[in-house]
């Protein structure tokens, strides 16, 4: 455990050093070395823990009421460490080159990047409510400073503000959660909290608070409002880390709290499945309507969090109805998807960053044809796109496959409550996967295929090696996890065991009488089948590539325009745009999306000017939070009268409170 803590302190230390030499060009490199060293050191105990060799928890004296510096590393924490240990060093390396052309000092952003990495690792090891909250806050603040890196732009400051407010609404819910739970348990240590018997009402309240608090970080709809603002505003390697990894701490927190709340009643999984369905479907629907590449990816994070929620919901469903197969497959799929999403989403953000870095724009409709000038980026981006759409042989398919399996086993489970939800899970997942595939056909097709739509895209060049290699490694990881699926299942199991070991009812009493390992064997067997098919698919693909490459040998290669129905003067602007490609689908979801169209239609026989523009503002922001905050503003504005700068009245407030306290204290004796 000490090794793990050391691994967290190294990036912090070198981050402080980078802060000291903040004007130097070497600052980000030194900070990145810190991340590499720290993650390397921390990887040792994490791998040991995943291999079943859980290190004893570490307790350091802390002079804080209710708090204790308790750190531990079980299967769940260790598994959630994996995406951090993988993505953070790669994104740090990428960031060094990404930010190299910046004029401003880079010490600050390097320091906060390292602080974010260290705080996420420490958060996963924290075993005390107060400690957890403190680290949670450090994480939120350091990521806030990363988001507002380009703070000379008003929209970036606005995004940072949104993130800060949303983040603190979540923290507020967590504060209440831990205060209530701690009061019930008499301690804020997770060990003691887990042993507390809670009344069903109290457990329900705590669950809802956890969903709000952790859901804000994770991005459950309608708490997701900060994601589409903050991710585009942040530098790309930061978005990769935040979207790929940081939002998963919300999922981790939810799972951790679930292990402490005892046996889940039926209402919870209904809640989670509904949240998952809404987040998944609406997330991808909003993504379809976006023009900004990174904003589109941010909505896909919402979608994938929805998929993870579906998995956890399926797991809870299994717990509630004593269906071990459902439990293991659901939790397993959900938790594995955390890792998978971290890999392909950070890859996508890095790819989007490379595109933005080299073309200077993130607007999909200004791009096009980049596959010719940015081959590495294009290939890694298409791999990640296939993975996020849940297509074999990549990793996204594996975890979604497990959740499908969970859905099917729920349908067959012969338990009255599970069937409808299980069907909803399977059907919803299919819809999400299909829409995601459509969305990435749009994103990849418009950005990388066809002809350049503007001068931005014409001058694009491939990015440097420090940006290419991290993307290549992540793309390899996408394929690797897909092909080594049974092994991946093996490292998920320790995490699943942590989640399902706590609830009261023993599995041995169920009519199935299966243990986790036996179940894992079943799951592994079906995954083996998947791997065989994937391998066959890969071989087929490689074969086709070779045929394409070598068959036309000798014949001459010519370049010619696309057939344009006889039109004499086609231009690149006549290609399909992102909006036109997505229009059938966005029209389908228009009641949710509320897309605004501004158009000046062509008129007359020789139309001179015509424009068409669509905007899709976030529905939750427009119709839920904006009116809510306006209401709060109106209700609370009278309080502003108290805050007017007159010293005497401030003193009067203090005096009144003091005297009242004295009277109350003295009078109550």
């Amino acid at each position: 455990m000490e090794v793990f803590i050391l691994g967290c302190l190294v990036p912090l230390g070198l981050g402080v050093f980078a802060l000291l030499i903040r004007r130097s060009k070497a600052a980000p490199w030194i900070a990145a070395i810190g991340v590499w060293l720290g993650c390397g050191v921390a990887a040792v105990p994490v791998i040991q823990a995943l291999a079943g060799n859980v290190p004893p928890s570490l307790q350091i004296a802390w002079n804080m009421p209710g708090g204790s510096l308790t750190f531990g590393l079980d299967g769940l924490s260790a598994f959630f460490c994996l995406p951090i240990l993988l993505v953070s060093p790669l994104a740090a390396l990428y960031g060094c080159q990404y930010l190299a052309h910046e004029k401003k000092p880079l010490g600050m952003v390097s320091f906060f990047y390292n602080a974010l990495t260290a705080s996420m690792l420490l958060l996963l090891a924290a075993r005390n409510g107060l400690l957890f909250l403190v680290i949670w806050e450090v994480m939120a603040i350091s990521s806030f400073f990363l988001v507002i890196f380009d703070d000379e732009h008003a929209h970036v400051r606005q995004a940072g503000w949104t993130y800060l407010v949303a983040s603190h609404i979540g923290t507020g819910a967590l504060l209440v959660l831990f205060a209530l739970f701690g009061k019930q348990a008499g301690s804020l240590d997770f060990d003691l909290m887990a042993k507390t018997a809670l009344s069903p009402t109290m457990a329900g309240i705590l669950f809802v608070l956890a969903v709000i608090g952790f859901g804000t970080k994770a991005g459950f709809i309608p708490l997701h409002v900060w994601l589409p603002e903050a991710h585009p505003a942040a530098p790309s390697h930061v978005s990769a880390l935040m979207s790929g990894v940081m939002i998963k701490t919300g999922i981790y927190g939810l799972l951790r709290i679930l292990t402490m709340l005892g046996h889940p009643p039926a209402a919870w999984e209904v809640q989670l499945v509904i949240i998952g369905l809404v987040s998944g479907i609406l997330g991808v629907a909003f993504a379809l309507a976006q023009h900004d590449l990174k904003r589109l990816l941010a909505y896909h994070s919402v979608e994938n969090i929805g998929i993870i929620a579906l998995g956890i919901g399926a797991g809870l469903l299994g717990l509630a109805w004593d269906q071990p197969v459902l439990t293991v497959l659901g939790f397993g799929g959900g938790i594995l998807h955390v890792l998978n999403h971290a890999v392909f989403k950070s890859l996508l953000f890095l790819g989007a960053g490379a595109v933005a870095h080299s073309t200077g724009t993130r607007d999909i409709d200004h791009l096009g044809g980049l596959i010719k000038s940015m081959r590495w980026t294009a290939v890694t981006f298409v791999i990640a796109s296939a993975a996020i759409s849940g297509l074999p042989p990549f990793n996204g398919f594996i975890s979604e496959f497990l959740i499908y399996l969970a859905g099917f086993s729920g349908v067959r489970a012969n338990a009255p409550g599970t069937v409808i939800l299980a069907i909803a899970i399977g059907g919803g997942l299919a819809l999400i996967g299909g829409l995601a595939a459509a969305c990435f056909v749009k994103a990849f097709g418009v950005v990388f295929l066809g002809e350049p739509r503007s001068s931005h895209a014409t001058g694009a060049e491939e990015v440097g090696a420090a940006m290419r290699w991290p993307m290549a490694v992540l793309a390899a990881a996408c394929l690797g996890i897909g092909l080594l699926a049974p092994a991946a299942m093996k490292i998920v199991l320790p995490a699943v065991q942590v989640v399902r070991s706590v609830p009261v009812r023993a599995y041995e009493e169920t009519p199935y009488g299966v243990t986790t390992n036996a179940l894992a064997t079943t799951a592994t067997a079906s995954l083996m089948g998947v791997v065989h098919i994937s391998t066959a698919l890969l071989l087929l693909g490689a074969g086709l590539y070779l045929v394409r490459r070598y068959l036309p040998r000798g014949s001459e290669e010519t370049a010619t325009g696309t057939w344009d129905c006889g039109y004499a003067r086609p231009t690149a602007r006549m290609q399909y745009t992102a909006s036109s490609f997505a229009q059938p689908l966005t029209d389908l979801f228009r009641i949710f999306l509320g897309t605004r169209k501004h158009s000046a239609d062509p008129e007359g026989f020789f139309p001179a000017r015509a424009t068409f523009e669509t905007q899709t503002p976030d529905a939750a922001r427009e119709h839920l939070f904006a009116p809510l905050f306006r209401l709060i503003d109106r209700v609370l504005s009278p309080v502003r009268r108290m805050q007017h700068g007159r010293i005497h009245e401030y003193l009067l407030y203090i005096a009144i409170v003091l005297v009242l306290l004295l009277i109350w204290k003295a009078g109550s004796r």
Binding site: R640, Q643, H644, G645, R646, I647, H648, E649, L651, L652, I654, A655, L658, V659, L662, I663, A666, G667, R669
Partner: protein, 226 residues
């Protein structure tokens, strides 16, 4: 000790009723002397080194140094020598008696663990704290506020001494230092205020606020200035 306590109460009432700044400063100086003598009286002749230092330093700082500082401040800033109250002197005195009642009630309600706490001294100290608060709220000039702050601190000191003489005197000295620094800062601030705004009315500090640009208070203040 009873005499000192009664004198303390009387001095507080005097502060509530006095309209001259010079007089007020002198009264606070007298309070300082009273409080300096207090630990000596309280220790019943068994004057140790610590008690001696405490008493002496109290007298030096509260009765000599701080009043001198304030007088200098008053002279240099050239402000009018009257206290400008929001609540008139008569009503202030009436409120003072009510506060005295409150102090008596609170002291009565307090059940102290030590038996040998002088009740009268406790009452007068609480009274001084309350009067200090009252003066801060109701007097216009910034300098009267630092004066009121001193009165309040005197009360705190009195409570400390009445509770226990064993109260580590280093702590008391620390508080003294705090007060000294506080008043010193206040004095410094006053100079700058004076230079910038040509008045020392704390209620016109709203000019600094950007919140209430349109409220009539500021407009009034600006007009008065003009």
């Amino acid at each position: 000790m009873t005499i000192i306590s009664v004198l303390l109460i009387l001095s507080c009432l005097w502060l509530l009723g006095s309209s001259r700044l010079h007089v007020a400063i002198r009264v606070v100086a007298i309070q300082g002397v009273l409080l300096g003598v207090l630990p000596l009286v309280r220790s019943m002749g068994d004057i140790g080194f610590g008690v001696g230092v405490l008493g002496l330093s109290t007298i030096i700082s509260k009765a000599i140094l701080l009043p001198w500082l304030m007088n200098t401040c008053l002279r240099l800033s050239g402000i009018r020598k009257e206290i400008e109250p929001f609540v008139g002197f008569g009503p202030s005195l009436l409120c003072g008696t009510a506060l005295l009642g409150l102090a008596v009630w609170i002291t009565d309600r307090l059940q102290l663990s030590q038996a040998q706490v002088p009740q009268v001294l406790l009452i007068s100290s609480f009274f001084a704290i309350l009067v200090g608060l009252f003066l801060m709220v109701t007097r216009r000039k910034a300098i009267t506020q630092s004066l009121a702050y001193l009165v309040m601190e005197n009360g705190v000191y009195g409570v400390g001494v009445s509770m226990s003489l064993d109260f580590p005197f280093i702590v008391e000295l620390g508080i003294l230092l705090d007060v000294f620094v506080g008043v010193f800062l206040m004095g410094n601030l006053l100079f700058h205020l004076d230079r910038e705004f040509e008045h020392l009315d704390a209620d016109k500090l709203t000019e600094l606020s950007d919140l209430s640009k349109s409220t009539p208070v500021v407009v009034e203040a600006v007009e008065e200035n003009a």
